[in-house]
């Protein structure tokens, strides 16, 4: 457990301090983008394509413009005048803002109507007449790669097929040899379907251009306001936008999960519209637009293989993946590897050889490919390895827990360099699994299952012992269009000892206003109630790369600790001066410096703060402030072991999660209550795609799952009672030993659930099932259909 070094009143690391942001949310005083109202504001609504692939023959805005309240219709031609009809994606691909001649996916933006009310704008959308000529649609990424498939990106010079990239890691020859020499090999095709983050708050923007000052102010649902500001300045510099005159305010955000990292065409159109009309413009997506057109997660078709000895020792891993990125590579992952951190696929096991390859493919679907709480393809990789381990256990007739225990990387092997090139910082995998087994009563469950099976009842137990990788990232490996992935904190101690902390990351519900205060409280002994944390306004907060991929604590959290330590260093000098001793004679305890051996001779941090402005040593600058930009030396590797127990209704195929024990290890914990909340939410968001959520398309590219009628988000009624426990293995390279926890549960939960369901049906010969495990899929498996 995280050691408590401060009193509850100070509320440093390890205290379940109540969330400072909650009173305003509970009282309805949150301030979201849609709450922003500006004088003379106009509303924008978007015309979207009914076709997945079509030529645009004409766009006629006449009727829309004649409708009362409609002020303007913006098309690709309008934007072309400013050369703003295309934009780069964060993966250095290109994307249409509004099309000139072709649409590439259903629900793509085709034109925008600007009007005096939302109603008039929506009416206007119906009145814009667009003539299309349908083109051949490419939906299946395997067909997209076949010779003769229509080349979709005719706009890209030199693009002769639909392949975006080929990435590989590991030693192919050594892996192939290990497979040849192995006693046992298994292989499994695994598809991780497209899903959507479906945040409670959809995306939106209020864009206001002051043509006199040349100032552009954007209230925007942005997980990365600073990076977005720079991108806007780089992309629209030629029309006079200059970075010091762009201010992005990312106010309260109702959930991000990666879906608010990309720059969507709607934002750019709204910016163009405020410049063109001279009025502030508000655009807030409807739920259906959000589900149909915004960035998705997953869509990985994997062929996964594992080689092992007869006794269960795992030897080699091989995974070949087709990654469906849709119309353009607009994934929002800043690593130098196009498949992100998929190299975590060797999981919690010390393979001797491994080889992974991923081919990115264009299809006529919306672009994206990272969003939804997955730290850059870790969810897919973990699903593959944790399924393979269970299949191997089944083939060898071994208990899946025993097989994992036999293979885990041992605690003394850390830091551990994996064959795919990652250096795991710390771990105790057996410890986590052992605790999970104890807590859930694993042996009793096995007995119960045996009895139930004899009575013909279907019960399953599934394990997942995942390793996560978060905290992007070291500047040598991570950037967004060149911007390195450091993060920042700026701390000001006021004369009365109260504190303003400004951080480069941005909260979408994670509780930064509380937890970052706790880091400062831990380091300086100032009560967390005296610390105000601000973020999300590019005019005031220090530069940072944003909150996603569980990176806030690993990166900005480290910066906050480092800035606090700079302040403590200066405070020590002041204390020595005030106490008339040398710095070496001082000891620190949270909240004060005292003379070694004479605890009464002390100066509190508040007294020191006052002195910093009133009575500081000569030659020292006044004030007590610090800034830190933290470039992490490595990523952090949270881990855990989950055990899931399911009961299955053999008549309908319905899966019921009866119990779910989650043991997580995210290193040192800042606020146990908030971590618990992250895990509960993450488990639910892991269960969702395992059992319910999917976005799919028919052959014409029509979307299924484009509204909440079909996109099945679980509610409290579908959610089981999560049981949680923790182990604590601090990160050795992180200033406060923390690792990040936002995505662990989303990554770890799905394979535990699938393993449990497959286990329940294993005596019927079932060896694998694809997610989501809909009742019909399970019913078919039970009935051998």
């Amino acid at each position: 457990m995280t050691e408590l070094k401060t009193s509850a009143e100070i509320g440093g690391m390890g205290h379940s301090v109540k969330r400072k942001e909650d009173p305003r949310f509970i009282r309805g005083r949150g301030n979201y983008v849609d709450d922003v109202v500006r004088p003379g504001m106009l509303y924008m609504a978007i015309v979207r394509s009914p076709y997945a692939h079509a030529k645009i023959l004409s766009i006629n805005s006449e009727k829309a413009l004649a409708h009362p309240g409609v002020a303007a219709v913006i098309t690709g031609e309008t934007l072309k005048e400013y050369n703003l009809h295309w934009m780069p994606t964060l993966m250095s691909d290109t994307q249409m803002v509004l099309p000139i001649d072709k649409v590439m996916y259903q629900a793509q933006e085709v034109a925008a109507v600007i009007a005096t009310s939302r109603y008039a704008a929506a009416d206007g959308v119906e009145l814009v007449e667009v003539e299309y000529e349908p083109l051949e649609v490419v939906i299946d990424p395997f067909k997209a790669l076949e010779p003769g498939a229509p080349v979709l990106r005719t706009d890209k010079e030199g693009q002769k097929d639909n392949r975006i990239f080929h990435w590989e890691a590991g030693d192919k020859a050594a892996t192939d040899k290990a497979f040849k020499d192995a006693d046992v090999t298994i292989s499994q095709d695994i598809y991780i379907p497209r899903i959507h983050v479906a945040s409670i708050e959809t995306c939106g923007i209020v864009a206001e251009f002051d043509s006199v000052e040349g100032q552009l102010t954007l209230w925007m649902t942005s997980q990365a306001p600073h990076a977005h500001r720079t991108v806007f300045a780089m992309v629209a510099g030629h029309v006079g936008l200059s970075e010091e005159k762009i201010r992005i305010i990312s106010p309260d955000i109702g959930g991000g999960f990666g879906g608010k990292v990309p720059i969507y065409p709607g934002y750019v159109i709204a910016i163009a519209a405020t410049v063109v009309t001279g009025s502030p413009i508000k655009w807030v997506e409807h739920r259906r637009e959000n589900l149909q057109a915004d960035s998705f997660g997953r869509d990985y078709h994997m062929h996964a293989e594992l080689a092992a000895d007869k006794d269960g020792t795992m030897k080699a891993l091989r995974i070949k993946t087709i990654a469906d990125h849709g119309y353009t590579d607009a994934a929002t992952q800043p690593s130098k590897w196009p498949a992100g951190l998929f190299a975590i696929a060797t999981g919690s096991y010390p393979f001797e050889a491994a080889f992974c390859e991923v081919d990115g493919v264009y299809t006529n679907k919306p672009p994206g490919g990272i969003a939804y709480r997955c730290s850059f393809r870790v969810t897919e990789a973990v699903h593959a390895i944790e399924r393979l381990v269970d299949i191997l256990a089944d083939d060898l007739g071994m208990d899946p827990a025993e097989l994992r225990m036999k293979n885990f990387i041992p605690p003394e092997a850390f830091p551990y360099k994996s064959v795919l090139g990652l250096e795991y910082d710390s771990g105790n995998y057996a410890g986590a699994l052992k605790l999970a087994m104890e807590k859930i009563g694993y042996q009793d469950l096995l007995k119960e299952q045996k009895e139930k099976r004899e009575r013909g009842e279907l019960m399953g137990i599934g394990i997942s012992s995942f390793t996560e990788v978060v905290g992007a990232g070291p500047s040598k490996d991570f950037d967004i269009l060149g911007l390195k992935m450091f993060d920042s904190a700026e701390i000001r101690i006021h004369p009365t000892g109260k504190v303003l902390v400004r951080i480069g990351v941005q909260s979408q519900g994670q509780g930064h206003e509380t937890t970052f205060g706790q880091i400062v409280a831990e380091e300086l002994g100032i009560p967390v109630s005296d610390i105000k944390v601000e973020h999300g306004d590019t005019d005031t907060a220090p530069y940072g790369l944003g909150t996603y991929a569980s990176r806030s604590t690993p990166v900005a959290g480290a910066a906050t600790a480092m800035a606090s330590r700079k302040i403590r260093d200066k405070a020590k000098k002041i204390a020595a001066y005030l106490l008339e001793v040398s710095e070496d004679d001082l000891d620190w305890e949270p909240g004060k410096f005292f003379v070694k051996g004479v605890p009464d001779k002390a100066k509190t941090i508040q007294e020191i703060a006052f002195a910093a402005y009133t009575n500081h040593p000569q030659g020292m600058e006044a004030g007590l402030e610090a800034v830190s930009y933290y470039d992490p030396p490595n990523m952090t590797f949270p881990f855990g072991s989950y055990i899931c127990v399911v009961d299955i209704d053999s008549g309908t195929g319905q899966v019921k999660i009866r119990r779910f024990m989650a043991v997580d290890d995210c290193g040192n914990i800042i606020n146990p209550m908030i971590v618990e909340g992250q895990i509960h939410g993450g488990l639910t968001m892991g269960m969702a795609p395992a059992l319910m959520e999917e976005i799919s398309y028919d052959e014409e590219g029509n979307i299924y799952g484009g509204s909440f009628m079909e996109y099945l988000m679980p509610t409290a009624m579908e959610t089981p009672n999560w049981e949680t426990a923790k182990t604590c293995t601090p990160s050795p390279h992180h200033p406060i030993g923390a690792k990040g926890v936002g995505e662990s549960a989303t990554v770890g939960a799905p394979p535990a659930i699938v393993n449990a369901v497959v286990d329940a049906l294993s005596h019927l010969g079932v060896r694998h099932l694809e997610i989501p495990l809909t009742p019909e899929k399970v019913w078919r498996a039970i009935n051998g259909l």
Binding site: H286, R287, T652, Q654, T715, M717, T774, P775
Partner: protein, 291 residues
């Protein structure tokens, strides 16, 4: 998700409401709970030029027994059915039904009249009313008329209601002694329409033989489906596991599902069979005095 333009009318008497409907013609829609109509308008799947809000009409909100009938006023909310002691104790099948409709927020507004008048075979009350042999009372320019439930549903979103008529009451014959009923719905998640659902009612004689049976199926046909052959197979026979299994099979044969995101035709038929059996077992247990 933003509706088109419409005129809003709020009559205060039934006569006024019917007169309004008559004068506005096909361009008008009755608004009761709004939980089906408003979503359709927000998607612009329905764009009525006029809404006639009947929530101001008095005396359409009641649940009572009189003259051998349970009568329910059309404006009775699902939440009231869910809470009613009379319904819970004597008509648990209706409680089963109301309880699985949507979620508490929707149930606070949605009305039983709207649920039937909407004519959606995915709605839950229609099959229950088929199993209960209900009648529907409607009021139009020429006064009231009563429509048997088997004549009420004509097709998807089509009923025997005329554009100038308002559904005012649902009438259910008070079941004889030794009767029981149950509604079992299988849904993908709470608040979703059924993959399939089955309403079953049975009446037993002193020897345990089934003398009356009603079976209605939800969301497996263009209208709620009465599983007639299954009912007939039960009548005159004891409700043994075998007989119930036969009824399950016949109900499955009577269903007319089409494959969609909720499941294939084959799967839905299998679900109908399983649910019919479960609903009949539960109805039987209730007829015998159980819960």
């Amino acid at each position: 998700m933003i509706p088109g333009t419409f005129e809003y009318h709020k009559p205060s008497t039934l006569d006024e409401a019917v007169a309004l409907l008559a004068s506005l013609g096909d361009d008008a829609k009755v608004l009761s709970g709004g939980q089906s109509l408003i979503p359709m308008m927000k998607f612009r799947l329905a764009e009525p030029a006029n809404l006639v809000d009947i929530n101001g009409l008095e005396g359409l909100d009641y649940i009572r027994e009189a003259d051998g009938y349970l009568t329910i006023g059309a404006l009775t909310r699902e939440a009231e059915l869910d809470r009613s002691d009379l319904i819970k104790s004597k008509y648990p099948i209706i409680h089963d039904t109301a309880h699985v409709i949507a979620d508490p927020q929707v149930r606070n507004l949605a009305t039983i009249g709207g649920n039937l008048a909407h004519g959606d075979p995915a709605n839950d009350h229609p099959a229950t009313m088929v199993a209960l042999g209900a009648e529907v009372v409607v009021f139009g320019p020429n006064g009231s008329r009563t429509i048997g439930i088997d004549d009420f549903f004509l097709g998807p979103l089509a009923t025997a209601l005329k554009a100038n008529e308002i559904l005012t009451e649902i009438r259910i014959p008070v079941p004889p002694a030794n009767s029981g009923g149950a509604y079992i719905k299988f849904e993908r998640k709470v608040g979703d329409f059924a993959i399939a659902a089955v309403a079953a009612t049975v009446t037993l004689d002193g020897s345990g033989k089934c003398v009356k049976a009603g079976i209605g199926l939800t969301n497996v046909g263009p209208t709620p489906v009465r599983a007639k052959a299954a009912e007939e197979a039960l009548i005159g026979n004891p409700l043994t596991d075998d007989n119930i299994a036969t009824a399950g099979r016949l109900a499955s044969e009577a269903s007319q599902p089409v494959g969609d995101q909720r499941g294939s035709e084959e799967y839905k038929r299998a679900v109908v069979e399983v649910l019919t059996k479960r609903a009949l077992h539960k109805a039987k247990a209730r007829a015998e005095g159980g819960k």
